[in-house]
Structures are given as structure tokens and as C-alpha cells.
Symmetry: C2
Subunit: 324 residues, 2 copies
């Protein structure tokens, strides 16, 4: 029997708790959940049904810093779903460090800790023979790291290119297909909940750069930081530029790229019939590898499909730990 | 130390032998290779360098039926790369049965045995606790079954659609982009070595149907045969039909589909900006799964990239057997 705790109990966390109910309680038990205001923990296991509403109304709710739950629990797996801070990595990085120090395998969807401290966290996990899984951090519902674990082990990845930010891809798609100017497409995206009120990280390419850093470190053995990425966003793309591209059978996409050791994020011309050229909120990632040649993966980069990546990571850990 | 034999020593087999040299000889030894005329076997291992030319010139060449090598060797892994016969499954199916009976794990790129006897072979492997891996049989260099093994285990695949035949996709792409009639595009494909002299199996959709059968049985727990697939090929597609599609921002693609228990292969209208809509010899496959939503994989369906799938299967077996 493995015990699991979820730190960061919002949209994803709640849905994850529901999905985990499908596991037998003799193999996996949801033992605790925490949000920023406190936590609920029980060695006997929690039912997501009892947690669905405001966490603080639960009989066992403790209005304490959630780190207390990580420090005191005997969980086997910590799922860290904290909001991303790419400057400090907090609060995720502290939860992950603490969980590893307590001997827990860790699954996370938070990019921040991996952008800030990839090497440190991975080494820490390896030296303790623990798993640190982060499929959900790049391309939400696209199985990038699972594939690497399974398929690329004896191959050599030569380069990676991708559309890794759904918000900017939605905006660029609207500009391409409807001829909208960027500011109108942005307002529309905000109204649909596809862009945040402060969309700077997306529009300036920073979010894509974070993902490129994780990919370079995780898949190509590099040791890169955010400051190593040459970044240009989409804010200067005009409708005129987009229409000019369209007339040539092309469009403009925000492409993150790792090639010959260089990490870049920039708007680039892409042929409309290129496999990478996906529209709307879709993400796409293309690998070039020595044996395999080129492989492109296309899927949703955010939202509910991210759940599939979390479940896959948890499942992998359970299998490797002999629980399944 | 694991011993490996290759039955079917042609283009793929020779390249595979070269790649396997990268493994340490203390973990993996190429012990034997066979073609239709005979075999070379050595418990001490073979160097691909000594095999590169005509196999029958090798000092240890035995002009005997290759099944003899499978029956008499103590190999751990048999790689079966025989030419596909979708009516009988032979000779691959006999090699695979024999290898399993001798306690070998099996890796194959031959669709025939799986189309003819999927359930029998998989049950046989399972009852003997052996691995039967066939990543190379569908979408050559696209990691379909690896992904299923890794990512979909707790998810439910609801439907599959794909462009799974590079020859017909090349022909349809030429018809779309150059306005060629089908017969001219076919001649061109034959000249480029992309279509066989008798292209019936490709053009009539039979090759795609075989792959759909394997996908249905392997990924969706079905027990289907070739006769269960409703098949229409591309031979009746005219340039006029293609141009009409093009004017609507669409094109015609040969789509294999598994949906609501129904297996079909047919030319279908596809929007030019749909993720599945890839051109040239590219293959594409789209999964819809309960948690993950839609995921599309695009890559080369044949040729050298198939090597990556063979290596990945072999690597998986070595890991599961604790060799790595």
C-alpha cells in the first residue's frame, strides 16, 4: 500500500483525487491534501467526496503551513501542484526538497522548481534513489518524458522544436485565420480564460523559455538556466506581418528551439503544411533523433489533459515500486 | 549476458546488427543471423563487419532452413524481420511460435504473424512470461506501443484514426499539390522506390487495414481479423475529386479508423489544418483517450527510422530482464 499526498489542491488536484479513487485502496491511498491555507491529513485515507468543497470546512482541517503536512506525514508519494513562480521556484521547490528529504517519490506539474533548481533536485532524487517525475510541466497532455524514458534511451536526441504555449498559439491562430490584430486577439483569449489578466509571461515568450530549459536539461543532458535562453515574444507581431506570411502559404508561430546547444524562443515563419504547424490552443513538439529521424507530438498543452500526465507519472512510480 | 538472433537479414537486419554493436558484449551478443537461404550462428557472437556481404560466403554459413537456427540455438531474444505475408503470416509466424516455444523473447517488424494470429501469439507469450514486442509493425518510427505501455495504462483509448501507409500518402500528396492523376503519381512513387511493382496491397487499403487490426487488438483489447475491416482503397480517387477538396481547404487522405468497435479504411476528406493532415511519406496517428483527450503522433512510417522501434523493443526487453 502506498500513501499519496497532494500539495496544491486546486482544479488539477481535485480532479486528480477523483481519478485516484479508481485505484484499489489496498494499492494507493490519498492520505492528505493541502492548499495555501492549511491541510487535511489522515493515515486511514481521505475520500475526495468529503473534500470537494472548501477544504477548511473539513473536520480534520488544520490551519497550518502546508509544509507541516509534508514534514510530518509518512506518505510515499508527494504530488506537488503549486502555482508556478519562475523567479524563486517557491513554494514548490521547498515542498519538493522536503518530500525528497523525507524519502518520498515526487510528481509535479510546477515548472518553477525545475527551472530554478533542475540539477539540484534531480541529483537529490537520484542519490536517494527516489523518482522525481514532471511529465505535466511541459506540453500538459503530451507524453514527452514518458516517451524519452521508453523510446529514446538508446537513441540520441539531436534537436527539439516546439509550440509550447497555448495562449500565444491561440492568439497567433486568431490573427492568422481572422486577421485580428494582436491586442484584440488577446482580449478575446482573456475573455475565454485562455490568457491571464497579466499575460506577460506568455506573450514575452518566458513561459516557452521555461519549458525549453526543462527539455534541454531533462532530455539532452544540459545544465541550462532561464538566462541561457535567447527570448523574443510575440508582442511585435502585426496583422500585416501575419497576412504577408499567409500569402506565402506560411504563418508565424512562437517556436522554442534547442539546436546545437543553443536555446532560443522566437516568432518564426512556419509552412502551413509543416507537422509542427498546429492551431488554436494545441501544443506541438518535434524531436530529431539519430536513429528515429523526426517525430512530432501534438496535443493539448494545458487543462484537463494534464491529468493524464500526472496519472501516468504516479502509475510509473507504483510499477517501479512493485505496487502494481 | 543475452544472446540475440536475427531471422530475416536484409536492409533492416543489417542496420540493426550495426546498431547493436553499441551495446557492450557483456550485455548483448549477436549470436546468429539467417536469411531465406541459410544462417550463420556462433555462441561466441558475430561481428556485423564479418557479415556485411553475401551471408553465404561466411565460413560458418550453413545452407539449411533458418528454422533450424531458431530450433537449435540458446538465444534469449529472436528478432523476426521476415517479409510480410498477410494471407498466411508465414514464414514469420512459424519463427515466432518456435522462438516462443524455445523460451525466447521476440521482437518483430513483420505484420503478417500479428494479423493472422495476434491472440494466439500474445497468449502464448504471456503464458510463458515472455515478451512479444512489435513496435516496428505499425507506423515504423512512431512509438505507438511504447507509449501505450508507458502512458495509457490507466487511461482508456476511445478511438484511433491514422494515415498509416506512406505509399498512398505520397501519391495523394502529389495529387493534391501537383494536380497529378493517380496513375502518374503511382509511376513516380514506383520510380522513387516508394511503391512496389505490384502496389495492390497499398492502393487497395489492405496494408492500412492490417495495421488497424493490430492496433485494435493490441491497444483496445479487441479480437479482430482482417475480414472484420471495411476497406476501400484510393484507386478511384480522381484529380477532379482532389481539386474539389482542395478548393474547400481540404484534401483526401486514406484514413484507417477504429471507432465504436468498427474498423474501417477509406479515403476521407481532411481539413488541411487538421493535425492528422500530413503529407509525403509521413504517417500520422491520432488517439482519443478518456483522460488525455486527443494526441497525434507524426513520423516516418517506414525505412531507417523503423530501426529506432526495433532498438527500443530490444532495450525494453533487456531492462525488464534486468540486463541493463
Amino acid at each position: 500500500l502506498k500513501r499519496l499526498i497532494i500539495v496544491g489542491y486546486g482544479f488539477l488536484g481535485k480532479r486528480l483525487a477523483r481519478v485516484l479513487e479508481k485505484y484499489g485502496r489496498e494499492e494507493l491511498l490519498l492520505a492528505g491534501v493541502a492548499n495555501s491555507r492549511g491541510y487535511v491529513y489522515s493515515d486511514q485515507g481521505l475520500r475526495p467526496g468529503e473534500l470537494e468543497d472548501d477544504l477548511s470546512r473539513h473536520a480534520k482541517f488544520r490551519e497550518k503551513p502546508p509544509i507541516e503536512m509534508v514534514e510530518n506525514s509518512d506518505a510515499d508519494i508527494a504530488v506537488v501542484l503549486t502555482p508556478t513562480n519562475i523567479r524563486t521556484g517557491e513554494p514548490g521547490v521547498t515542498y519538493i526538497r522536503t518530500a525528497l528529504a523525507r524519502g518520498m517519490d515526487v510528481v509535479t506539474a510546477d515548472k518553477g522548481p525545475l527551472v530554478i533548481a533542475f540539477k539540484e533536485l534531480v541529483s537529490e532524487a537520484e542519490s536517494r534513489r527516489l523518482y522525481l517525475c514532471y511529465e505535466a510541466t511541459v506540453g500538459g497532455g503530451i507524453p514527452i518524458f514518458s516517451l524519452a524514458r521508453q523510446y529514446f534511451r538508446r537513441d540520441k536526441i539531436l534537436s527539439i522544436r516546439g509550440i509550447l504555449n497555448g495562449t500565444t498559439n491561440y492568439i497567433l491562430s486568431r490573427m492568422h485565420f481572422e486577421g485580428l490584430p494582436l491586442d484584440l486577439a488577446l482580449v478575446e483569449a482573456q475573455r475565454l480564460g485562455l490568457a491571464e489578466r497579466d499575460p506577460t509571461l506568455d506573450l514575452e515568450g518566458i513561459d516557452t523559455a521555461c519549458k525549453i530549459v526543462i527539455l534541454a536539461n531533462a532530455l539532452m543532458g544540459m545544465d541550462k538556466r532561464l538566462s541561457d535562453v535567447k527570448v523574443a515574444g510575440i508582442t511585435r507581431i502585426t496583422s500585416e506581418a501575419m497576412m504577408a506570411a499567409k500569402e506565402m502559404g506560411m504563418t508565424i508561430k512562437l517556436i522554442g528551439r534547442i539546436e546545437e546547444g543553443e536555446l532560443t524562443v522566437a516568432p518564426r515563419l512556419v509552412k502551413l503544411n509543416h507537422p509542427l504547424c498546429v492551431h488554436g490552443t494545441l501544443n506541438a513538439i518535434q524531436f530529431r533523433a539519430s536513429l528515429m529521424g523526426e517525430l512530432t507530438l501534438i496535443g493539448e498543452g494545458a487543462g484537463a489533459s494534464t491529468l493524464a500526465s500526472l496519472v501516468s507519472d504516479i502509475d510509473w512510480i507504483l510499477r517501479m515500486r512493485g505496487g502494481l
